[in-house]
Structure formats: C-alpha cells, structure tokens
C-alpha cells in the first residue's frame, strides 16, 4: 500500500505525455550513483579534514587530476553557454530542443568543478579573500569571478527547467516567477555568454601566462596569451559535440528518441566548422610557439618531446587525430548524417579537448625547467579519484532527476507521439505512458 502511494506520488511529478521507467527501476539506476556520490563525499571529507596530504600532489605537481578534470569538464560544459548564445543571440531556433539539456550539463559541470576546486585549495575557509582582496592581474581571479557569477546565471537558467515540473507548475506564484524569468532569459543568455567566453579564455590564460613555464607560455594580444582565445574556440567547438554525445547517450540508455535528427546535424555542423577553425589556429599557434616563443625564453622546443612518454606523438594526437579528423567528419554532410560516423567523431573531438587540457596542465608540470632537474611523474591517489568520481556521480544524479521530473527535451513528446502512431506499441507501455 505504501509502495503504491509512493509510486503514485512519484508518477504525479513526471511530465505529462512522456514515459518514464518505474520507480523501482529508477531507484535501481540511482543506487550505484548514490553510492559513488557518498564515496566521493567521504574522499573529499578526508582531504578537507586531514589536509591535502591525502592526495598524491606535491610541491612539483601542485595541480593534479582535479585541475585536469576541472578544465576538461568546464570545456565540455561550454555547450551550455554556446547553445544559449546560438539560440538567444544568433536565433538558431532549432536549438531550443537541446537548450535545457545544455543548461543542465553546464550547471553540473560548473558546480562540480567548483566543488572540486574547493577541495583542491588548501584553505577553503579563505575562499572569499579572492573577492575581498582580488588581484586583478591574476588569471585565477578572472576565473573565480567569472565561474562563480556564471554559476549563478546557470542556476537561474536552470530554475525554469525545475519549475516546468508538472506539480510545481500548479503553484501559481512559481508560474508567475517562471514567466518573469523567461523575459529575462535574453539578458541572462547575454551575460552568461560574456562571462563564460571570458572565463574559458581565462582558464586558457591560466597556464598560458606562466612565463616561468615556457612549455605552457604563449604570446598573445594585450594581456591575454593565445591560449586564451584557443580555449574559447575549442570549448565552443566541442560544447555542441558533447551535447550530441550526451543526448545520444541518454537516448541509448532510455531507449527513446529525444531530439530530431536535424538538431543533431545542426550541432554537428557548427561543431565541425568551429573545430576546423580551431585546428587551424592551434596549428599556427604551435608553430609560432615552437619557433619563436619558446626559443626566445632560452628553451629549445625539441627538449620538451625528449621525455618519455610525452613524445611528439602527443602533438600529432592533439592536432590531427583528435582535431583535424573529427573536424573533417563533422563538416562532411554525408558522414555526419550517419550515426556510425557522427558519434565517434564527437567522441574524438571531446577527447581532443581533454588531451589539450591534459597537455596544458599535467605535461607542463612534468617537464623540468632547471637543467639539473628531473622529469616528474604523478598518479592520483584513490582519494583524488574518489572525489572526482563523486563529482561524476553528482552530475549523473542531477541529470537523471531533471530528466525524469522535468521536460528536458521539449521534442520528446512530439517524437514519441510520432513513434506511437508509426509502431504498434505493446499495451503495458501505453498504460505507463498514460500515467
């Protein structure tokens, strides 16, 4: 009896016209992720209570797994701002099909990154110092300001997604609030776009400004090194790819069609074009750096690739394998129309941006700067991996809840209706759909 009411209550929150799995299955799906989240919180707690000696970071590898993950997930989460930019500013109306998903992914990535950052710093209690005593010359100040502001924007953007829940909609003041919020969405999108363009750049600048690390140092425009712009470009290019990848993944997991194919095609085209531009810019940047910037600081670029395992293959992988190749697939309409090409290409593009962030952070720290210094290696401790796993679990949980109880994909109902008409659907599924 209790279970039945629970089921009913749960069902009442699910959006009308879409089908969702049973409460039991949903709970079963949640269980491992909750366990992982608990483990992640435990790991993070260890680091906070006992100190960062719980990690394998050290005075030479001052940043570890977390900075790499933070940079990567923020780059992947760029789909949020870029889709918003395309939809609200450049008026690509088709993208309203994925904007909610993009916002959720953005929120998850940004809040996850912030959470990891709070564990990563030695004195989390002093985090407000950055706002109170900011050093305006520091890229990290820019990053902190922009990320926290943008996180606030994302949270506001996420509110309508929550408020679209069937039961919450019944509360009139929420409806009014949502309506008011909707009027603001263009402003929010504008502000969000500016903030996130800026901090993607600042994240790029983070290592690009390190004059003492010629492997990462880049020349640039005004105060910003070239990586500032490359990071914006790569994040913008890969954001839509990641959106395709996640949407496809959700479709596979839920066995549903959620988005029309032309949306995928549009995203893929945008991603492909931007990726082409990025690869070109990256290639030019690399050549300038190899031949001018680095030798200018007394560092012959050849020595960077002397240290195993980071040979020149890593350059090739970054630019050609994970850059040019997916770019070419994504701009070729015949190839991207087929899932067998589209999905691997988006995956490659995502790997490319991850590799780029890896090279910028981890490889930079591994390479010696003093002639009598050694090449260093680092592998994360289980506490670090656990914390990161917790962030991942948190993301999956937020997405799962949003997907179940809110209308993440507006086209889902339409596509489902089409599917029901086209196919003979077994009865029980119809019954479930009717709930």
């Amino acid at each position: 009896m209790v279970r039945l009411t629970g089921k009913l209550a749960d069902g009442q929150f699910i959006t009308r016209g879409v089908s969702r799995c049973s409460t039991e299955r949903f709970l079963l799906w949640l269980a491992p992720w909750v366990a992982l989240l608990v483990f992640g919180v435990y790991c993070a707690g260890l680091c906070l209570v006992k100190g960062l000696n719980q990690t394998n970071m050290d005075n030479r590898f001052v940043f570890g797994l977390w900075i790499f993950v933070d940079l990567t997930i923020i780059a992947l989460g760029a789909g949020a701002f870029f889709t918003g930019f395309l939809l609200y500013i450049l008026k690509f109306k088709e993208l309203s099909a994925v904007i909610n998903s993009a916002v959720i992914i953005g929120l998850v990535c940004y809040s996850g990154a912030m959470a990891a950052l709070m564990v990563d710093v030695g004195q989390p209690l002093r985090c407000w110092f950055t706002f109170w005593y900011p050093n305006v010359h520091s890229m990290l100040t820019e990053v902190t300001f922009c990320i926290s502001c943008y996180l606030a924007v994302l949270a506001i953007e996420y509110l309508p997604v929550v408020l679209k829940n069937r039961r919450l909609k019944e509360i009139p003041s929420f409806l009014v609030f949502e309506f008011e919020l909707h009027k603001l969405i263009y402003v929010l999108a504008g502000v969000g776009t500016f903030l996130s363009f800026f901090h993607q750049g600042s994240l790029g600048g983070l290592f690009g400004v390190l004059r003492g690390r010629p492997f990462a140092f880049r020349e640039g425009l005004m105060v910003w090194p070239s990586t500032f712009f490359l990071f914006i470009l790569s994040a913008a290019a890969v954001g839509p790819s990641f959106l395709i990848l996640t949407t496809w993944l959700v479709e596979k997991i839920t066995h549903k069609r959620l988005v029309k194919d032309q949306v995928f095609q549009l995203l893929a085209r945008i991603s492909g074009i931007l990726l082409c531009v990025y690869v070109l810019a990256k290639a030019v940047d690399t050549l300038v750096w190899l031949n001018r910037t680095s030798p200018g600081l007394g560092f012959e670029a050849a020595q960077y690739y002397d240290w195993k395992p980071f040979g020149t293959w890593i350059l090739f992988a970054e630019i050609v394998l994970f850059g040019l190749l997916p770019a070419l697939i994504l701009i070729t309409p015949g190839l991207r129309a087929r899932r067998g090409w589209l999905i691997p290409a988006t995956a490659l593009a995502c790997c490319g941006v991850a590799l780029n962030r890896f090279v910028q952070t981890v490889q930079t720290q591994a390479l010696p700067t003093l002639s009598f210094d050694r090449f260093l290696s680092y592998s994360p401790s289980w506490q670090e991996v656990g914390t990161f796993a917790g962030v991942l679990a948190y993301g999956v949980l937020v997405y799962s809840f949003s997907f179940r109880y809110s209308q993440v994909f507006p086209e889902e109902r339409e596509l489902k209706a089409a599917r029901v008409m086209r196919l003979e659907i077994p009865e029980e599924e119809l019954v479930e759909a009717g709930r």
Binding site: Q123, L125, R126, W128
Partner: protein, 547 residues
C-alpha cells in the same frame, strides 16, 4: 536574510573563521620574551666549534657559529633534548646490581669519544679496579694542514667536517688536495684532483703511493690503515705536518692512577665480563659482532650509557639514559688537527633532565675514585700551569691565563671560552709498529656482487630537522639508506625511494634505496645507521634484495 546582512553577525563570522584558520589547534605559538645571547662550545664532535645561542629567556632557539658557520648537526643541537628517540629512563638499580655481581671479573669501559676529561675519569676508575679502558682505535697523530702544500687524502672527508672545519677552511687556499676515493664525495668534488679508485682498494692504493708521480710533492697523506703512518714517515711529514696528538694539562695524580689506553681491536677475544659503554656523543660506532667477540661466553654484562635508543641500547642488557650536549657540562676532546693543547667546556644551554646517569659517576662510585669535580680540577691544573691564553667568545678577547684568577678562568670557560696554548711545542709523532688490524676475509663476489662504501660520518642522534637533508631533499644519504647505481638497482629489482634488504655474510638489514648515478657500478653506498653498520662495514661485500 536581508536584515542579517545589515548586522555585524555574518561579517564577524566569516572574518572569525578566516582568523581561526590562522590559529587553529595544531599551530604552536612560539614563546615570547627577552632575547639574549649565550655562548658555549659544541660537544658533538672534537672540532668543538664556538657556539652563540640565541635564547628567549633561558631557552635557546637558534645556534650559530661565533666566527663562521656551523655544521648542520651542530646548528640544530638545541633540538636534541626533545628528540622522540631519547632514552629517558632505564634500569639503573638493576644495572648497578648486575655489575656489582660480577665484581672481580674482567671489567672494561669502552669510550667512543675519547680524549675528554671524562675519559680520564674512566681511566682512573679502571686503574683502581684493574679494568681496561678501551677506545675505538688508538689515534696517536695530529695533522697540521696549515703547513701542508700538497695533501693526498685516501677517502678522508677532509673538506666535509674533518678536524676543525674553521682551521681547514683557513688553510684550504694554501694546499693542493688530491682525493683518492671510490665515489666523488663532497671532498672529492672540491679537491683539485680526484683519483677514482675501486671501492675497497684503499689499502692497495696506499701501498702504491710511492710509485705515484705526485709522490715527491706530497707533504701529507691522510687515510685509514696502518700503512699511512709509514708513508707519512717516508715522505718526511713527521715533524712537519704530522705530530703527536696533544692534550691539555691534567692533574698529576690522574696520570698516576690511570689505566693504559687500549685499542678495542687489541683486546683478546672473550675476555670482558662487564662492559660499560659510553656512547654519547659518539663519533664512531663499532659493529656489535666485534663487541660480542670480545665478551666472555658465559653471561657477560653490557651496560650502555646512551642518550637514545638507536645504538647499543638495541643489544645491551642495560641501557641507561644519559645527558648529552647541550644539557650537561662536559669538555671537548681535541680534534685530529689539534697539534697544540686546547681545552674547551661545553656549558649546558638547557637544564639537565632528571633521571639521567653518567658513566663517570657510575664507575666513580664503583671504584671509589672521586669524579664529582673533575672539570674544575683540570681547569685549575691548567690555570696552575699558567701557560696559554683564554679566548672568550662573547667579547672575542684573548687573555693570558697568567692574568686571570682561577675563578675567573673557570668562569670564562663556562661562559663560552677556549683555552689554547699557541706557543706550545708540538709533540713529536711516534710510530706505533705494534698495530695490527684484523683483515676482513675475502669474500666471493658471486653471491655478494656489491662492495660497500660507507658514509664517513656517524652521528648518533640528530635533530628532527635533519629530515631537511635526509628526507625532504637527497643532499645527505640518510642513515637508514643505501645508494645504488641505476644499473645495479635494475639488476636488484629495486627502485628509487623503495624498500630493500641489505644482505652481507653477517646478516640482513632493512634499508631504503636511493638510485644515484654518482655511485660507481658494482658498489653500494651505505648509510651510517648502527643497524647497517652492524652488518655492513666499509669494503664489505653485500647484496641488495628487493622486498
């Protein structure tokens, strides 16, 4: 919310939490007080460097040299009273009873820091009890670097804490140094010439010196082993750079009462029934198996007077806690380059801990020889002789002893001062031909492929801050470490920073491994920990096994 923001509460709270992050439990607060300087002499090794202690109230917080620097061990000696490995209590009554129970059987004192006034107390007590007074090796010579032009050193750490570093540094610009050593040691690095020799071949190299091209120019040869004195005599160093070691005046009665000095190696096997060891502050360590060899088979009694648990306290039946520099008044033995008499007192900088015993008092009580006031007696004897000058550290004044009263002389020594007799005539060096050393049996290289190179320094107890050199950098080889050439490390299957077992014919010892290309292939550099020295001496054959 809005209201709360307008009150001081949230702002106070975030400020307070930030302030709390500055002084949360676990961050100690240094005591404040008046800063004063006190002076003493470092008694950790015979160099006896003058020390200026910066004190807050009575508590020393920083030691510095008076003229020039100090070695890292001396610099941090004021931490030693708080070392976690300190021995703080021991079975004094039981040890006394056990020793008394063996009355009349062969008793001996092993003095690991000979040449002090306490050493005379041991000798007098042993004289009264017909016991033996033993030192690691009878070292009759003193060397004068200031008169040397070309020095050949066979593995001596000449520029790395040998003798009196300030004297060595002063003489350094005037002599050429040739260092023959298996590894490029600290001394070899700064030497004008480094002759790499095979590890363990020091003796063979010494024998070949007369054939060397540079032999004619040599003014001094330094090294271990009986052949060195002979070579020095042959190159005419005796009377120029090699002299007999000098000691400050001792009261005449002492010399009459004292037992002779016996080198430990010269003691017949299985002859000691009661062995009393003074190992603080020790400047060398004799492996336990050598000591065991000298003890009677039937129920010997070994009592060690130690400041820490790491040395003979691991083997002896009784380990009694003893005070050490800088918590006890003691004098400092003359160094290897003391060609003229010198007398220095290490006045305590902190209070002597309770519950400690001293070997001098122990044997004094046993033998009935009065030892309570020996330092003052000796200072009075020096004063009575009326030679030399007192150099006080605080004001850097030199005063002739003749101008001082006995009390003023004593006070000057206690407040940081050094008595020297600069115009004394150095004693002539006397060849001691009777010296015979046990030769290590030749071992087969097949099962023990490596040859050991041992660290020159033995520091019994070191400040916890020495982790800066041993652990937080790889500047010094930590006492419990060994270093291997990368190739040998690969063969042994061990990695840098890993753990391993060091194995010799005498036994095994757990060690940590440093992989260092500076160690020659086929050799293993071993740390100075007593545990390692117990199984692996210099030139011993060894094997490293991964665990």
């Amino acid at each position: 919310m809005a209201g709360a923001v307008l009150t001081p509460a949230p702002w106070r709270l975030i400020t307070d939490t930030a302030l709390w992050s500055e002084n949360w439990p676990g961050v100690p607060r240094p005591a404040r007080g008046e800063i004063r300087a006190r002076f003493t002499t470092c008694a950790l090794c015979p160099a006896g460097c003058a020390v200026r202690a910066r004190c807050v109230g009575e508590q020393p917080v920083l030691l510095t040299g008076v003229s020039g620097g100090l070695c890292p061990f001396g610099l941090s000696a004021h931490h030693l009273p708080y070392h976690p490995a300190r021995l703080r209590k021991g079975p004094v009554a039981e040890a006394t009873a056990a020793v008394a129970g063996k009355a009349g059987q062969g008793i001996a004192v092993l003095d690991l820091n000979p040449g002090r006034t306490a050493s005379w107390s041991y000798r007098r007590a042993m004289g009264a009890m017909k016991g033996a007074y033993l030192t690691p090796q009878a070292e009759p010579f003193a060397y004068d670097l200031s008169a040397a032009r070309t020095v050949l050193s066979i593995g001596t750490p000449l520029l790395d804490g040998w003798g009196t570093p300030s004297k060595v540094n002063a003489a350094r610009p005037n002599f050429r140094l040739i260092q023959a050593e298996a590894m490029e040691s600290r001394t070899a690095m700064l030497a004008e010439q480094w002759i790499p020799i095979a590890p363990g071949s020091e003796s063979a190299f010494a024998k070949s010196i007369p054939q060397l091209e540079a032999a004619r120019e040599l003014s001094l040869v330094l090294g271990e082993g009986p052949e060195i004195a002979e070579i020095n005599q042959r190159i005419g160093a005796f009377g120029k750079t090699v002299f007999g070691r000098s000691e400050a005046v001792v009261p005449e009665t002492w010399t009459r009462e004292a037992a002779a000095v016996t080198a430990f190696a010269d003691v017949p096997d299985h002859s000691i029934a009661v062995l009393l060891i003074d190992e603080t502050p020790a400047t060398s360590y004799i492996p336990w198996h050598r000591i065991e060899q000298k003890l009677v088979r039937d129920n010997p009694v070994v009592v060690t007077f130690a400041a820490h648990r790491g040395g003979y306290a691991r083997h002896a039946q009784f380990a009694l806690p003893t005070a050490m520099y800088p918590e006890v008044l003691d004098d400092v033995a003359p160094a290897a380059d003391a060609i003229r008499p010198v007398f220095r007192l290490a006045a305590p900088l902190v209070a002597t801990p309770t519950g400690v015993v001293s070997l001098a008092e122990f044997v004094g009580t046993l033998s009935g020889v009065p030892v309570a006031n020996v330092l003052r007696e000796r200072a009075d004897a020096i004063h009575h002789a009326g030679q030399g000058t007192l150099h006080t550290y605080a004001d850097r004044q030199r005063t002739a002893v003749k101008e001082l009263t006995a009390d003023a002389f004593w006070k000057g020594l206690n407040e940081g001062g050094e008595w020297t007799w600069e115009d004394a005539k150095p004693r002539a060096a006397v060849m001691n031909r009777a010296e015979v050393r046990p030769v290590e049996p030749v071992e087969s290289p097949a099962d023990l492929p490596l040859v050991a190179i041992s660290e020159p320094h033995y520091a019994g107890l070191v400040s916890p801050l020495l982790t800066k050199l041993y652990q937080e950098s790889n500047l010094l080889l930590a006492p419990n470490r060994i270093a291997l050439h990368p190739k040998d490390a690969r063969d042994a299957g061990v990695v840098d920073g890993g753990r391993a077992m060091l194995q010799t014919r005498l036994g095994k010892c757990a060690v940590e491994v440093t992989v260092d290309a500076a160690v020659p292939a086929g050799a293993v550099q071993v740390g100075s920990a007593p545990g390692i020295q117990d199984v692996c001496g210099h030139a011993a054959r060894a094997k490293v096994v991964s665990v």
